[in-house]
Symmetry: C2
Subunit: 302 residues, 2 copies
């Protein structure tokens, strides 16, 4: 399987490269000040640097690459979306939310620091994301910068990620059907994954009517991602995942896996990935990394 080998290599090097780039950028954005705010910035760095798969930044930069966007620019926009992702994990892990002690194989922020600092570090990463996006270094064209802010704000607020998180809370005490679980996941996880692709297209100055296939790709991998997460929660290795698993069943939550059963869920995830790759047919070799990301999303073990 030489081709798979090449693609796997492309994916592995892509993940490694973006991981370094994101770490370096956060390091530059977040110098620890010599005053009593130090613990706050340390908590932001703890949450943002050196962990996570960086799937959203990889999606954003890979989409931007399709249209020849300067790497420095797409990485900068990626840091913003990763700041939003990092803030959401800090808040989701809090005792009154998912009450998690481990994340990415280390203590969650409220365990390593405390709850008050965790809330403030999340809030500060949230603000940082938008501060980064309006920096002229992201684009000399202010219209592009406002489009990025608009996309990221909508994807993370009550009509996106936070709305999905609210539905997830309701799901613990309700009987959701497949339609509602799909909607929940489209908001909770799909919105931000979709924003990553959309932001890459915005940087590439792809007109609205030229983004339909990218949006379709993003929607499909978003759902596939969540099904894979549900399967990992059921069958995964806590060591590799770096966090507590088997939580959905314990909480009695309806998921794709509980509603479809593990086999059909697995088939569904694979079908979504094939469909996502199909949407990229208009592109040639230059979209190979986006195809590899789609496959990785269901094959990952963490």
């Amino acid at each position: 399987m030489a081709i798979t080998g090449v693609v796997d290599g492309m994916l592995a090097s892509g993940l490694e490269r973006i991981g370094h780039e994101i770490d370096e950028a956060f390091d530059a954005y977040l110098p620890v000040p010599d005053d009593s705010r130090a613990r706050l910035i340390e908590a932001m760095r703890y949450a943002a640097i050196g962990g996570g798969k960086r799937i959203r930044p990889l999606l954003l930069t890979a989409t931007a690459d399709l249209y020849g966007v300067d790497r420095e620019i797409s990485v900068r926009a990626s840091v913003a979306i990763e700041a939003i992702h990092a803030y959401s994990l800090i808040h989701d892990d809090l005792p009154c939310m998912d009450d998690d002690e481990l994340r990415r194989g280390k203590l969650t922020v409220h365990k390593a620091f405390d709850e008050a600092i965790a809330i403030l570090a999340g809030d500060s990463l949230h603000a940082l994301a938008f501060e980064i996006l309006v920096d002229p270094r992201v684009s000399g064209d202010p219209f592009v910068r406002t489009e990025l802010v608009s996309t990221l704000a909508k994807a993370s607020g009550h009509e996106g990620m936070a709305g999905g998180q609210m539905m997830d809370i309701v799901a613990e005490t309700s009987e959701f059907d497949l339609h509602t679980v799909t909607r929940l996941q489209q908001l909770k996880t799909g919105a931000l994954l979709g924003a990553a692709v959309e932001m890459g297209a915005i940087l590439g100055r792809v007109p609205l009517d030229g983004r339909a296939h990218l949006r379709a790709y993003a929607r499909d991998i978003g759902l596939a991602f969540q099904i894979a997460d549900d399967l990992l929660d059921l069958k995964g290795d806590e060591q590799k995942a770096g966090k507590a698993l088997r939580k959905d069943t314990a909480q009695g939550k309806q998921t794709f896996v509980s509603l479809l059963g593990p086999e059909r869920a697995q088939d569904q995830a694979q079908a979504l990935v094939d469909q996502a790759i199909g949407h990229l047919a208009v592109h040639g070799e230059e979209a190979e990394l986006l195809r590899a990301i789609a496959r990785f999303i269901v094959e990952r073990d963490r």
Copy 2:
């Protein structure tokens, strides 16, 4: 004192008008959806509508008025800054932060709903603020929109309000001197009050070198505001304040009042207000509302 009467009337009608405008705008931005996100949006509305002095919106619109900015536009930008203020109050009131049960004379969001919803409602109002600012209805010029986002994001993040909140946490267990307390308050309260004035100037297309007097005004009223808050904490009426008082002393926190004593603190606040009004000398009658706001800031009882 006919003149004072006129000014008081101007302030009272200004406060009443902006209060209605902000309530109406939040009502329009936040329709309650017919799905399981409903409780989240209800919590956002509970926190954002029908309460608070609306000092930041009043400052923003009064500054914009100096430069003939269309009212609909300045109100819209005001809603964004008030969304940030509302989110910060929700998070500050949480048990792991200030642990408050009352705010604006009613239960805090985590008491009226629950902690998880309170965190999400804060996060959602945070995102909404930036979504509002990049709406072309705030300005047809995308550069103006990015300047607004940049100003508000910096003022609310780790280099602004959230950073000040972190210093406030440290203050509970440290002995801060007057210099450090001043810096703390400049971040915690001053940054957002300053952003309100700055955003008004941005909408008014005041060039950077024409904003110095407005920034000086904002800095002075920001400190005066906090000294007045400290004095209210010591001497105020809980009924009128609509929240628990006497907390600074209980927590052993250094404030302007504990460091200067109530008399000198009162004198200092008055001196800052006079100084703030002095910065407006370049303006004539059109700045009368900004002058009235400065006076109100130290004379208010809530």
